[in-house]
């Protein structure tokens, strides 16, 4: 089976393994030996205060920041040194936090960018219209004219257009009202159920993380400080890590 065919097969892997990962900017290492396993079809929330290395960890997985030490693999295959374009071809999707949309492009073009060929577009669009029907009638609208919540839904829709086996999501709930957060939680859980996608979720919203994830891990000063199952009785334990 070709890589492309594997990518489109629901429930096919997406297992992520980080072993002693070190990375950073310039002379400073921000991620200092992170080891984390996300099993196939599992949702893991990576929590932590600002500046602890959560986004840097995601960018390192994506190859946007060079790996200084350790190993990263997807489905037991090393992805170290792979360009982001190669990772996307292997079915690794990304919903970024910083400047996440092409504001001056239409919604349609923002969504087109997630897939490799326009031949896949009708089917891919239909798959995300099921989750976000408002997109269907507004494809020609510029992304920058959407409300904050709608923009976040567009970011998630674009990541799902790829039909990823592994999805990396960076603080998707930041600044959103509870109803939109509930909608996003519902979409992620439905998509996992439908396609078996594996998700690594960087979050600051503890309630959302515990609702969606199977497990959590707290990143502190570039290292995993604690981890556990995402159950309601874990809330106080996690909060102790996140309190100032």
């Amino acid at each position: 089976m070709t890589e492309a065919a594997r990518r489109l097969e629901p429930g096919m892997g997406g297992e992520l393994e980080l072993r002693d990962v070190v990375s950073g900017y310039g002379a400073i290492s921000v991620v200092k030996g992170v080891s984390l396993h996300v099993g196939p079809g599992e949702i893991v929330a990576l929590l932590g205060k600002n500046g602890m290395g959560k986004t840097t960890t995601l960018k390192t997985i994506l190859g946007m920041i060079g790996l200084r030490g350790g190993a990263i693999s997807v489905d037991s295959v090393s992805v170290v040194g792979l360009a982001p374009s190669k990772l996307a071809a292997l079915g690794v999707g990304y919903a970024p936090q910083e400047q996440p949309l092409f504001q001056d492009m239409s919604i349609r073009d923002n969504l087109r960018l997630a897939i490799a060929s326009d031949r896949q577009l009708p089917a891919a669009l239909e798959s995300v219209f099921g989750y976000f029907p408002f997109l269907k009638d507004r494809l020609a609208q510029h992304a920058g004219t959407l409300s904050g919540g709608e923009q976040k839904m567009l970011i998630l829709a674009r990541a799902l257009m790829l039909r990823p086996r592994l999805l990396l999501i960076d603080e998707i709930t930041e600044g959103l009202q509870p109803s939109v957060i509930d909608k996003i939680a519902s979409v992620l859980l439905n998509e996992r159920k439908k396609s078996g996608v594996t998700i690594l979720l960087v979050e600051q919203n503890l309630d959302f993380a515990l609702k969606v994830a199977d497990r959590w891990a707290v990143l502190k000063l570039g290292q995993i400080d604690d981890e556990g199952p995402a159950e309601p009785n874990e809330r106080e334990r996690v909060l102790r890590h996140l309190s100032v």
Binding site: P84, S85, Y94, F102, D109, R112, L113, A114, D118, L162
Partner: protein, 277 residues
Amino acid sequence: MLLILDIMTTAAILFVVAIGLLAIFGVLKIINFAHGAWLTIGAYCAVVTAQLGFNPWLALPLAFLVGGALGGLAELFIIRPLYRRPLDAILATWGLGIVIGQLITLGFGRDVQFTPNLLSGTVTVLGTDYSAYRLVALAAALVIGVAFAATMEGTRLGLSARAVIMNETLARGLGIDTARVRLITFMIGAGLAALAGVLLTPLTSVDPTMGVGWLIGAFMLVMVANGSLLALAIACLLFGAAQVLISTFVSPILGSIAIAILAALVLRVSPKGFARA
């Protein structure tokens, strides 16, 4: 009528000369100071086509292919390591232009080369006899402009290029092969420059330094256009009109420097030039 036709065809020629530079500047964010050398390469493709006895129009596709291929090599081996060092890229492309000029001198000598007219004679436009070839240049500019806009708006390559222009980091994060987009864009820009070189052959003398004079005007126009195709078309029309009017009614010497002076004035008032003006 003659004046209007002169203005329109001059604007068209400026547009054809500058569009390759605009493509490269828009996506790669570097000024290709070897652009003049690619114009010269195109013109010498016309010379070679004539020497081999082929139909002179064949020089157009030949120049696009040769210019694009050489542009690809230049991007891979010279430009690519310098994207994070734009000042070094300016020096490198300037030096590359000099090297290409010297290589052409080695191969063809310093003498002016002659090429057959792509189209001779005049046609009557609203009672005015006018150069058929200059009208062809106007049509060529329209075709190239529309094709370029259609590529940017209607193809996957154009979509990827627009994404790279707007936010390269995000484009990379979404899996766009930005290195490939840059390579193809440079090849297209270099190919368009060589194509422009062929179109210039009936209007200017062909020698190893012919591109230098055109480079300055193209550079000024691209700075004023700030990466926008529409702004480039407007700049070519306005500055082309100024060049024709000053040359006709004041002095041809002043007309030849009109573009540089006007561009400097526009950028002084509006640093973004005509883009989104």
